[in-house]
């Protein structure tokens, strides 16, 4: 066995698990079928951890495993590169996927088919993280996409098929343009591997000029759809709100971030990449604020969370884009990139936790409307939850997303803000933080006070839910307490070669003052939103017109804008 093969275990083990799960359905029935399905999940979600641990010493020293699949010549084969970045993205993927699959054992959807598609999605995540070939990136995104369309539709909720369909349509359209972008790059450089592309571009006058800019903006635009940055976010709220809870947590936590970090491999190498990053970063900062305002107006609990996903990914993209612009070899750039990843990782944990907790709660109460559901804590107790695990895990998630110390959201948001200090993006993110606080005060009201209807029979909470939620809640608290070591760990793994500088200070008078302002401001905004005028304004935002074709208009305008931006600066 060659050392290069070890990294492919992360891709192949989930696939093997998927194959086992599919066979279990075709060949067996009853208990045997279920055991084989669980074996598949074990192979696909637990065994990769062995490989991850085995690879850790290598990536900690800043080394990378590189090669060409099948040992072909580099001009025709597929290159891959497994480094610290890939390891971290895999950490993100396998943590959340494991917890989410465990959760799905409770409320469903069940069955070998679900497990197989779920594992295929996990495998695509691992493959995306380490690909160093533009066409292979396309294939990985396609596999990831098709698995998520199926998983969204598998909830069988009203409208889930439609949500999945509009996601399918807009993302398939975007992928066509991604392919055209690959054409442009291949046409000019004759290469698909990242190193080949860089070599090809450096030999061209003006690095390929207009063709490169347009190809790059097509590729970035298509990835931005997956990442759901404004204005390309339109597909996300419906599909994340209507997917099964476990799938929602994976979609929000992992799926929208993996393409972003895979894209950074390309943008870090291409000369025009820094300007693309700059514009994406601006879009991210605006996204963070606008999405949180829309989130505040929502009445459906899961849709509210879905808009918060858009808002939080705005934080990540703002820092990520700024990092690409200043360059990851600088101290500020490395802090920003580490902050972006940390927030992506921590968001995966607390948003995954929030989706699962809210999912359990709304299932138990058979009510998803934030304005109507009250006294959920009591309902959960009636449903047989003697220790109020779901309420506690919700509170943990809400405190983490609102950046209250010592939870992990505080650590990552402070790191982000430290990197973005004295820029207009910083004020946008600050304002978004106040909105986040307000909207989680609003959401938390579903747990307090008395249930309005006494005659409702609460649905019992399965044990799998409690275990998965507790696991994620412990992670939220643990990574918050050990924020310093986590930061150093991520910076070491990224190995940018940036000058060593002091880590951002988490606990100072200023950050604690900020937290205090955040809490006060959030409460004030919440109280304002509860007034009659505030209520009416939110209603207007909630019921703003949205249409299917708007998704395509947003995409074409976004791509055109990005090309114009690159032409202007480049």
């Amino acid at each position: 066995m060659l050392p290069e093969d070890t990294v492919f275990a992360l891709v192949v083990l989930p696939l093997l698990g998927a194959a086992i799960a599919l066979s279990s359905k075709a060949f067996f029935t009853g208990k045997r079928k279920r055991n084989l399905e669980y074996l598949g999940a074990f192979v696909g979600l637990v065994l990769p951890w062995v490989v991850m641990i085995q690879l850790l010493p290598l990536v900690l020293t800043g080394q990378a495993i590189e090669g060409i699949i099948g040992g072909w010549h580099e001009s025709v084969g597929i290159s891959f590169r497994f480094d610290g970045l890939a390891w971290l993205v895999n950490l993100l993927g396998f943590t959340i996927a494991g917890a989410a699959w465990l959760y799905s054992l409770g409320p469903g959807p069940h069955g070998p088919h679900f497990t197989a598609v779920f594992l295929i999605q996990t495998s695509a995540l691992a493959a995306t993280a380490m690909t160093a070939d533009l066409f292979n990136l396309f294939v990985c995104l396609e596999v990831m996409g098709i698995a998520s369309y199926i998983l969204i539709a598998s909830s069988e909720k009203q409208g889930a098929f439609l949500a999945s369909f509009s996601y399918l349509m807009v993302s398939a359209t975007a992928m066509v343009f991604f392919l055209l972008g690959i054409y442009g790059i291949y046409r000019t450089t004759g290469a698909l591997t990242y190193t080949g592309i860089i070599n090809g571009l450096s030999g061209l006058p003006d690095h390929g000029g207009v063709v490169t800019y347009i190809s790059l903006s097509l590729i970035v635009g298509a990835v931005a759809i997956r990442v759901a940055v404004m204005p390309l976010y339109g597909w996300l709220p419906d599909s994340h709100a209507l997917a099964p809870h476990a799938v929602s947590s994976v979609l929000s936590g992992v799926l929208i971030k993996t393409p972003l970090f895979a894209l950074s491999r390309v943008l870090l190498l291409v000369p025009a990449g820094m300007y693309a990053g700059q514009l994406m970063g601006y879009a991210g900062a605006i996204t963070a604020l606008v999405a949180v305002i829309i989130a505040l107006s929502q009445s459906d609990a899961k849709r509210l969370l879905a808009y918060h996903t858009v808002s939080q990914i705005g934080y990540v993209v703002a820092a990520w884009g700024a990092a690409l612009y200043v360059g990851t070899h600088t101290l500020q750039g490395s802090i920003l990139m580490a902050g972006a990843f940390l927030h992506a990782l921590y968001h995966a944990m607390f948003k995954g936790l929030l989706f699962l907790s809210i999912g359990t709660t709304t299932d138990c109460a058979s009510q998803r409307n934030v304005y109507q559901l009250r006294g959920a804590a009591r309902l959960l107790k009636q449903a047989g939850e003697r220790i109020p695990i779901t309420t506690i895990t919700f509170v943990v998630g809400a405190l983490a997303i609102s950046a209250i110390p010592p939870f992990n959201g505080f650590a990552s948001k402070t790191t982000l803000s430290y990197g973005l200090k004295d820029s207009w993006q910083y004020s946008m993110l600050y304002a978004a933080g106040i909105g986040t606080m307000a909207s989680f005060i609003k959401l938390s009201r579903i747990y307090w006070s008395k249930p309005e209807q006494q005659n409702r029979f609460p649905v019992p909470v399965p044990n799998a839910n409690k275990i998965a939620q507790t696991f994620l809640a412990i992670l939220c608290l643990g990574t918050g307490i050990f924020a310093g070591p986590m930061y150093r760990f991520v910076v070491t793994l990224f190995a940018f070669g940036a000058p060593n500088g002091p880590a951002p200070v988490l606990y100072s008078t200023q950050t604690l003052m900020n937290t205090l302002i955040l809490i006060t401001g959030g409460t004030a905004v919440f109280l304002l939103a509860s007034t009659r005028i505030g209520h009416n304004i939110l209603k207007i935002i909630r019921e703003r017109p949205r249409d299917f074709q708007g998704l395509f208009v947003a995409f074409s305008l976004g791509v055109t804008g990005l090309s114009g931006w690159l032409l202007f600066w480049g």
């Binding site: 001009s75 025709v76 290469a191």
Partner: protein, 251 residues
């Protein structure tokens, strides 16, 4: 739920088309010379390294076989999703699109209509052609390295052969190839085989997706033929299963 085509809608379509065209024109209108690296490499070494006379098969089952694994998975998931939708008989779909429930009488009417449309002519022709189409499918599948064709195309031909058999066969048909259960078994086994084939290189020290058969002393092209056969079986079984489900026979 019929929406009118409004001026706004037309403006949106217009805007999309104009902006995208503006962006795409410079992409195709360029005087940068065409790249030749990969072409030259394949011309000089392609035949010797892969053993395939059909260079297309050398690309998709040799140089870029990992991409092909991905595309196979896309097909697998798509088929599984389609079957999921069909299995619900459209009632979930109907709910999603705003209809209160499935129209039961319409469904019955449709089934009887399908039964009426079956004629003796259809049954005889499809029944007799079925095996021929199957053989042709296997030919396309197994000769993919020499002539246009390969696993994906051959698999689809095999699937149409299965559909022919299903249309032509009577209830006490002599083949089990049209049974949904058998096809599901075939599909899952060939998917497993594909994964194992990709791993075979790891076991024998050649690396992930290495040509194990060539290492064992067999012709280079053997691996391409093997993969073509596995993919063909998988595609044939998968698409066949989907068509059988569409005929309403998958229980």
């Amino acid at each position: 739920m019929r929406s009118k085509i409004t001026g706004l809608f037309l403006f949106q379509v217009f805007l999309c088309l104009v902006t995208i065209t503006l962006v795409l024109i410079p992409l195709f209108w360029t005087d940068i010379p065409w790249p030749t690296i990969a072409r030259d490499h394949m011309e000089n070494f392609g035949m010797a390294a892969s053993g395939a006379r059909n260079m297309v098969s050398a690309i998709y089952l040799g140089y870029r076989v990992f991409d092909t694994l991905g595309e196979t998975i896309v097909l697998l998931v798509a088929v599984s999703g389609t079957i999921g939708i069909i299995a619900h008989g459209g009632d979930v779909l109907a709910k999603g699109f705003g209809d209160p429930s499935r129209n039961e009488s319409l469904y019955q009417e449709k089934t009887t209509l399908v039964k009426k449309q079956r004629t003796a002519l259809l049954e005889v022709v499809t029944g007799k052609l079925g095996p021929v189409v199957l053989v042709f499918g296997f030919y396309v599948m197994l000769f993919g390295h020499l002539s246009p064709g390969g696993g994906f195309q051959g698999g689809v031909v095999v699937a149409s052969g299965i559909v022919f058999l299903a249309l032509g066969g009577r209830a006490d048909g002599s083949t089990r190839l049209t049974e949904a259960g058998v096809l599901a078994k075939l599909e899952s086994i060939s998917f497993l085989l594909l994964i194992l084939a990709s791993l075979s290189g790891v076991v024998f020290g050649g690396g992930f997706f290495a040509n194990t058969l060539a290492q064992a002393g067999m012709p280079e092209v053997g691996f391409i033929v093997l993969l073509n056969a596995i993919i063909g079986l998988k595609v044939g079984a998968g698409i066949g299963f989907m068509c059988i489900a569409m005929l309403g026979r998958a229980e």
